[in-house]
């Protein structure tokens, strides 16, 4: 595994995707859970817990897209044009989700409508992101540097499975986030939900993991060939440990640990994805090096990534620190 500029930027893109999935994941999760929360205080409180940070969270999605265009322009064009329908659906869903944050406060008469937009947008965005991921794992047919498949190649039982799994996973993130950020009835409700969503997420992860090696021989070899299996077997082992801690901490009524464990599950899921995909960025034929922009482009971005990303993480941390602790609701002060 040569560690050169394309490889470094592959890790950067992976980091942006991870940052996006865990951060926007919990606020999309709050959107998915919204219909299960009673109208009034609990919903307002849940919305308030993500309102100051959702915009920063979604910026990682722009970073993922912009970064892919900059570092792997060939892959950016191939993946997005191949997955046209789910990508457009995600973008439109994010429009509804995003405007609902402000609009629901501006227009109390139509608040139920904007709540539906918030939830619908969150579910469709999560589903579309999962389908995109599933379709990428299945592989994308390319010829002469462009997509060469049909318009519904992305729609398979596997991609739908990944889509539904991601909805469950985001909902788990959202419920554990609210366990951490809320009090009273909302916290109790989310605590109960987190149990069920934890089970659903683990089952979904197991199903996706079981199905993936059968998609391509290369995936099978990657996971089960000797001696790699010694390395790859650590992933399911860690998933088992994290799962145990997740349920243990939920049972003990911890506030912070369940959210951290849900984040760890997503981190491990992404590690598993990386193991399956490497060295391809568009399986089955376009590798990281085939798709990479020339070194001159990557070198130009290097200082930006090495200097600015840590600064971004610092002030993102500051922003979360300002809004730390339990989120207030009416009559709190």
């Amino acid at each position: 595994m040569p560690f050169d500029l394309p490889m470094f930027f592959a890790f950067i893109i992976a980091f942006a995707i991870l940052a996006y999935v865990v951060m926007d994941g919990f606020d999309l999760g709050v959107g998915i859970l919204f219909p299960l929360l009673p109208v009034g205080r609990e919903r307002d409180s849940a919305m308030n817990s993500v309102a100051p940070v959702w915009d920063g969270n979604e910026t990682w999605l722009v970073m993922g897209g912009g970064g892919l265009l900059a570092a792997f322009p060939l892959a950016y064009g191939m993946i997005l044009s191949a997955l046209y329908a789910p990508i457009i659906a995600m973008l439109l869903a994010l429009v509804f989700r995003g405007v609902a944050f402000e609009f629901r406060w501006r227009d109390p008469q139509h608040r139920p409508l904007w709540d539906v937009a918030f939830t619908g947008g969150s579910i469709v965005a999560a589903l579309a992101q999962g389908i995109t991921l599933g379709a990428l794992l299945q592989g994308i047919a390319v010829q002469n540097r462009t997509y060469a498949g049909g318009w519904f190649d992305w729609l398979t039982p596997f991609s739908l499975l990944v889509g539904v799994s991601l909805v469950c996973g985001y909902a788990l993130l959202g419920s554990t986030w609210l366990v951490m950020k809320s009090e009273g009835a909302l916290q109790e409700r989310c605590h109960r939900l987190a149990f069920r969503l934890g089970i659903a997420t683990i089952v979904a992860m197991a199903a996706v993991s079981a199905a993936t090696p059968f998609l391509r021989d290369a995936y099978w070899m990657r996971w089960f060939a000797w001696p790699q299996v010694l390395f790859t077997a650590q992933v399911p082992l860690l998933v088992a440990i994290v799962t145990f801690v997740l349920f243990w901490s939920l049972r003990r009524g911890h506030h912070y640990t369940p959210f951290l464990m849900a984040l760890a599950l997503f981190g491990l899921g992404l590690a598993g994805l990386g193991i399956s995909l490497y060295p391809y960025v568009v399986p089955p034929s376009v590798s990281i090096w085939d798709a990479a922009a020339p070194d001159d482009s990557l070198k130009f971005m290097l200082p930006g990534v090495l200097v600015i990303v840590p600064i971004i993480l610092a002030y993102t941390g500051f922003s979360y620190w300002v809004f730390r602790g339990k989120t207030g609701h009416e009559g709190y002060h």
Partner: protein
């Protein structure tokens, strides 16, 4: 229903629609972010309540506009790949890093501090809150810097080489970023954003002055907005002229379309004030012209020769009527802004700024003029770049994804429906906020929303968590 239409035309229409809608929001929020920083700075400096009231008044509007800018912007960052995958592959190594820097240096800065700016007034100190407001304002400017650099590179490509795979690859980053049209476009666009905001603020002030002449907030915002227009409108016209000369040097065909010059004029070209460009016939119908004036403006000489579209192969023509008319709309708006600037200056000198209803009515109808000018200017420069995506090098027809017309048609319709619904509602909410007069003790962004802050400092929250024994 889309079989008869060309997939690439639909893709262009979709891009034009989504980028025009998107551009409305930043062209307003770039100026508004700076205005908010000025208001908060004045409040901290003078301690006058009215500045804080106005800050909070406009902050609510900013929150709505910014949110719509964010979600419509995400669409843009993915649309290069979905609909223009060949362009992305070929130009990505050059414009991709510019956009990546926009995300890294601007978007995160804006998003990271927006939460503090909107909701953090009671959570952080005044100084830190002002720093957050400044960070957002600077972020909007940095964003304009990078995206206009990328856009200008597509207009006047420089500092590149072409590799074996047909990709544009960077040879000299300095030349790429500061490509020939970039400084002009940056100044012209940022001035445009400031004017757009000043016109909106002025119109809101005028509306409330017409109803309640003594409203202090309305007076202050109207005076500030008119002052801004008086300074920036003449500067903008000068910057626009310079930008035009730059375009004549690097993209002469675009200027031919803007001027409606189908024929070459070896001894002084006329300025076509109005007319109907007939592309097929290659002449202007019903033209009203000032002889030799175009040569005077573009070459600073009555008799300077100017080439026309007759020297250019027809397959390299941009759509002439669109460019011609969009340019005239922009210039017309600019002239009206100059008139408003002069009128308000006269009123200021005669100390009648707050009690001259005709001025207030004029300022009110000019409220949307900035948006019209900005979109018209954008159409002029982007349609004027046709038939290329990278000017002179990569044709639009060779840039698109291999999508079928029904797929693009369906997504275009979805965008139209969703944007009109979501952004139509947003515009209505903004107008509703604007219809309330600014008043003393203005509430922050969310009057009807539960208070989330635990107090002026986090101390009460900590104290409460200690007494209740819960995790803080």
């Amino acid at each position: 229903m889309f079989e008869g239409l060309d997939a690439i035309f639909l893709a262009r229409l979709q891009f034009a629609f989504t980028v025009s809608f998107h551009f409305i929001f930043p062209s307003f929020s770039i100026g508004l972010a700076s205005y908010l920083a000025v208001l908060e700075g004045l409040w901290l400096w003078t301690g006058r309540q009215v500045y804080l009231d106005l800050f909070k008044y406009w902050l609510k509007i900013f929150a709505l506009a910014f949110g719509m800018g964010v979600v419509s912007g995400i669409v843009m960052s993915y649309q290069f790949g979905t609909n223009w995958s060949v362009f992305s592959d070929k130009a990505g190594p050059v414009i991709g890093p510019l956009m990546a820097y926009e995300v890294l240096t601007a978007f995160f800065l804006e998003a990271g501090f927006l939460g503090v700016m909107l909701f953090g007034m009671n959570r952080v100190g005044k100084g830190l809150h002002f720093a957050a407001t400044l960070a957002v304002a600077i972020g909007t400017f940095i964003s304009a810097f990078w995206i206009l650099s990328a856009n200008s590179w597509m207009q006047t490509p420089a500092g590149y080489a072409i590799n074996a795979g047909g990709q544009f690859v960077p040879a000299d980053w300095w030349a790429i970023i500061f490509n020939p049209s970039f400084p002009y476009r940056l100044v012209h666009t940022v001035f445009g954003a400031y004017l757009t905001t000043a016109l909106v603020v002025g119109a809101v002030g005028a509306w409330h002055l017409l109803r309640e002449r003594g409203n202090e907030g309305a007076r202050v915002m109207f005076s500030m907005a008119m002052g801004m227009i008086t300074v920036v409108a003449p500067l903008q016209i000068f910057a626009g002229d310079q930008h035009g000369l730059n375009t004549l040097e690097h993209q002469p065909v675009k200027v031919m379309a803007m001027e409606g010059h189908f024929q070459s004029h070896p001894d002084g070209a006329p300025l076509v004030l109005f007319g109907w460009p007939d592309e097929a016939a290659g002449k202007n119908l019903f033209a009203l012209e000032i002889p030799k004036a175009s040569s005077l403006i573009l070459k600073h000489s009555w008799d300077a020769p100017l080439k026309g579209l007759d020297t250019v192969d027809r397959k390299d023509w941009p759509p002439v009527p669109v460019v011609f008319w969009a340019f005239r709309i922009m210039v017309g708006m600019g002239m009206l802004m100059l008139l408003l600037a002069a009128f308000s200056l006269l009123a200021r000198v005669r100390k009648r700024l707050y009690d001259w209803p005709l001025l207030h009515r004029f300022a009110l109808v000019m409220g949307p003029a900035g948006f019209v000018a900005v979109i018209a200017g954008w159409v002029t420069t982007e349609v004027g770049r046709q038939p290329y995506t990278v000017y002179g090098l990569l044709r639009t027809v060779d840039s698109a994804s291999a999508l079928d017309a029904p797929a693009v048609g369906a997504s275009l319709m979805a965008f139209v429906i969703v944007y009109f619904f979501a952004f139509g509602a947003g515009t209505y909410y903004i107008l509703k906020l604007m219809s309330h007069p600014p008043h003393r003790g203005e509430e922050g962004p969310r009057r009807d929303q539960p208070v989330r802050a635990a107090g002026i400092t986090p101390a009460p929250a900590v104290a409460e968590s200690l007494t209740t024994g819960k995790e803080a």
